[in-house]
Symmetry: C2
Subunit: 208 residues, 2 copies
DNA sequence: TAAATATTTAAACAAACGATTAAAATGTTT
DNA sequence: AAACATTTTAATCGTTTGTTTAAATATTTA
């Protein structure tokens, strides 16, 4: 029988999942070895297959959970009917940057694997519907209708916001080199962006 | 003796390099099989090692050439002393978007491999020095000194510009799904961005 | 406690992989 | 045409990799 998940000691199953998350996000699916994961988890290789049947099944679980966690974390913000468009952007930027500061490898991992694995996972998560029917998206379209924002495809703004948030983390090796930044200075810049990005986005949105 | 590179038939060496470029950028280093490359090139597997000694050496050559080509293509723009900062951004955005429309897989490939392979390649290319001493960068710092642009770390602007250009291509599977876009509609949006991005960047740069 | 079930381990298997070999084929020079 | 060098091929080698097996240990059930 499976052990109950007390607060103290992680289950073998959880140890494997935690290790898999680390290794997969570090190296990607193809470069990650089951032996790496087993070692990181401190368990026998056979246990990986005992609990998850195969490397691929384990990967799918990790990937699905990662993306579900992400979607869940932002859907609350996107659907808060009490906040304005600007406030939503502000909170979104802040939460997102904090998340990526802790898990800087996550976006490159997701984006890479999504490319080779396209439709299946995206469809399963139903990300499109959740975003399009969100209060955020309705507010965005409303602002366009009211003429507060120029009549541009809303996707442009999504691209801009996500690009400016995510790219610094994806390109951090180059950016750190260019700017002679260590980890701490880089993170300080990211904290600055929590203030700057909403201003920039607002300025951008009223350009006609 | 090696055959001369006439315009007509590609050398075996070139066939391998072209195939390697395709496969590596599609799948990444770890997921790319030497057999895939050989098949794509229409040659025997042994020829790959005959010409390039190993998968790794072949990869390094492809990676180096890809990045050198990229740097060469933008360094002309960055160092044109006849153009203003705004004009440089305009041309940069336009060239970059055209390039990525043809090679949409390139950025994810480069960014992924740069993560696992950090310092060596970046240092070899001396990208940092070339950017920092470019006319573009000097103009950027000048504008800050003159108070035309708020005194923010120049890297912020680099991040924003690159993020807004590159991210749409990196995240295209998700974005196409969200916006219900086929290849052509997506590319049309990218063409729009050649006009819009410089305006947005300019608006952003005068925010204080 | 004893039987039954669940978990863990060491060892090994089969397939896939990068790489090598030796010989054949082709091209070039004498 | 003969001798030599280069290029290409088919076959195979040694490792690595994901997975499986069977036995050992721990836990639960009756």
């Amino acid at each position: 029988m499976k052990k109950e998940n007390t607060t103290i000691d992680p289950t073998t199953e959880e140890k494997i999942k935690n290790a898999a998350r680390v290794i997969f996000t570090q190296k990607g699916y193809a470069a990650a070895r089951t032996r790496d994961i087993a070692q990181e988890a401190g368990i026998n290789i056979a246990l990986l297959n005992y609990y998850f049947r195969s490397k691929e099944k384990l990967f799918e679980i990790i990937m699905l959970e990662s993306m579900q966690g992400f979607i869940h974390s932002i859907s609350g913000v996107l659907n808060d009917e009490q906040t304005s468009l600007q406030e939503k952007i502000q909170i979104l930027v802040s939460n997102y940057i904090d998340m990526l500061t802790i898990q800087p490898n996550l976006p490159l991992f997701v984006l890479s694997e999504l490319r080779s694995n396209p439709q299946e996972l995206i469809l399963k998560l139903n990300f499109k519907e959740k975003l399009i029917h969100s209060h955020f998206f309705i507010q965005l379209q409303q602002a366009i209708l009211e003429g507060k924002i120029p009549p541009i495809h809303p996707l442009h703004f999504i691209m801009n916001i996500m690009g400016m948030i995510i790219f610094p983390f994806v390109g951090s090796p180059i950016l750190k080199n260019i700017g002679d930044l260590d980890e701490n200075t880089f993170n300080a810049l990211m904290q600055q962006r929590k203030i700057l990005l909403p201003k920039w986005i607002e300025a951008m949105m009223i350009v006609k």
